[in-house]
Amino acid sequence: MTVTPAVVEEEAPTKKGLSFKFPPEETEMGIIAGIIGAVIVIFTGLPAVIKGVGLILVLLWGMDSVRKTSKYGLGTGVPSIGVLSTGYGVVGALMGLAVAEYGRVGQLYPAVLLGVIVMGVIGLVSGAIANSEKFIAMKIPRLERGMMELGMAGTLAILLECSIVTGSLNFNAVVNQVMNTGIIALMFIFNCFAMLHPYNACLGADERRERTRMCGVEISGLVCVLLGFVQLALGTSPLWDSVSLIVFGAIIFAVFFWKFIKACMDECYETVGTGMIKTIE
């Protein structure tokens, strides 16, 4: 069989499609999302829209960590990394909620951040063990940091969702309104998909971080809409709070869905043929 020669790679086009460059770098993203998310988690009296902004930032950070961790081809599938992040997040959120009452000042719950820190430590330990030569020996650069950020982002996201739905971070209130009603199962899946879907859908040779992140923001907007409906169904907060969250989420979803599709359309012309795969003789 004749083998078509690989097409010579053309010069990279100077102008990329639509860009979404906030914040530009992975480390900056982690710091900004972590700090803003932590502050919004502590102040539980804020309106749901502001918590929604924090949730979008934190989910974006989680998506970035999923991308960072699974970029090297783990052989486990990208979805499992998102599920791992949410699994760590639930354990960390339980820990944070249990200590929430200590050091509480009115509507402020600074102690919940203990859960985030503990989950960061567990993520670091599991990443170190997975990467260590003596144990699993994954030998993936920066796996420790990726796993740590996954644990922290997952915990912050679950705490923020609990805070949006119940309006406080009281252990008994969360257990009654989130755990016992089964809303936690919805949150588990929302979180998983907001973190795993963007990279799972966009990965490939031509993956670009900005485009993947547009998909991430779009799904976070959908999560906000769904959480608004959960708020309405449980009746835990005033009507304007839920409705504003739904409207905010819908606008975010519409804008970023349009941007994402536009970016895909703009960039698809760049796809180059690489020729047929060589057959083994």
Binding site: T76, L84, G87, V99, A137, M179, N180
Partner: protein, 231 residues
């Protein structure tokens, strides 16, 4: 108060180790199995294990409503998970056999260790086996049983020793289960057929990692129970 904490941590560690062990027994096919070019079910380790364990939790939670026996609850969880994984493997075989027209055959051994049937002549060249042959089916059923047992053990511990509510206990058990399954998935790296697979020899490494993570998770859960006022 002390013995209860030890019991919680101990059972969570045992459950985590069982989850990690069970993940190595499952027929994980991954993306190649979706094309029929590898043995097993066409998805990743964590997804298969999570599906089986969650079904196990449903049966365990149902049984838990009318009994206090640890053995009965954990065994019902194990049976639920086994039924789930068996149905999935059986349906996979039907689709591969009648849909894709390939025979279930193991890619890692030349002769089936249980039935002594030859495998190599039926394997398509350059493929890594197809479907779910008998030895893989047996291994997968065992994996479902052990994994469901581990998941239900964690659920029972969190529900009755840490005194969490049913919803909290279920989601906590699933979360710790996932953390252990992912370590197993890291260790497996792609596809595995079961106890006859050469990759199964790497199991001790994953068990050490799983022990460390389960111990930390057990301590976190005990702290949650103490500080949250349920213990």
């Amino acid at each position: 108060m002390e013995p209860v904490i030890l019991l919680i941590v101990g059972y969570v560690v045992i459950g985590g180790l069982l989850a990690c062990f069970a993940a190595h027994l499952l027929p994980v096919g991954g993306a190649p199995a979706a094309m029929g070019t590898a043995t097993g079910i066409a998805t990743g380790t964590v997804q298969i294990m999570l599906g089986a364990a969650m079904t196990g939790l449903f049966t365990a939670a149902s049984v838990d409503t009318f009994t206090d026996s640890l053995l009965l609850v954990t065994l019902s969880g194990a049976v639920g998970a086994t039924v789930m994984i068996c149905v999935v493997m059986f349906m996979a075989n039907i689709i591969y056999g009648f849909g894709a027209g390939i025979v279930p055959v193991s890619g890692r051994v030349d002769v089936d260790p249980i039935t002594k049937e030859p495998q190599a002549p039926y394997k398509t060249p350059q493929c890594d086996g197809h479907g779910v042959p008998i030895v893989v089916f047996v291994s997968g059923s065992l994996g479902g049983f052990i994994g469901g047992f581990g998941g239900a053990l964690m659920y029972y511990t969190l529900l009755n020793y840490a005194n969490f509510s049913a919803g909290t206990a279920a989601i906590g058990a699933i979360s710790i289960f996932v953390a252990n399954a992912i370590l197993a998935a890291y260790n497996i790296r792609g596809t595995i057929e079961g106890f006859h697979d050469p990759k199964f020899k790497r199991l001790p490494y994953a068990l050490v990692a799983s022990f460390a993570v389960s111990l930390l998770c057990g301590i976190v859960v005990s702290l949650t129970a103490i500080l949250g006022g349920t213990l």
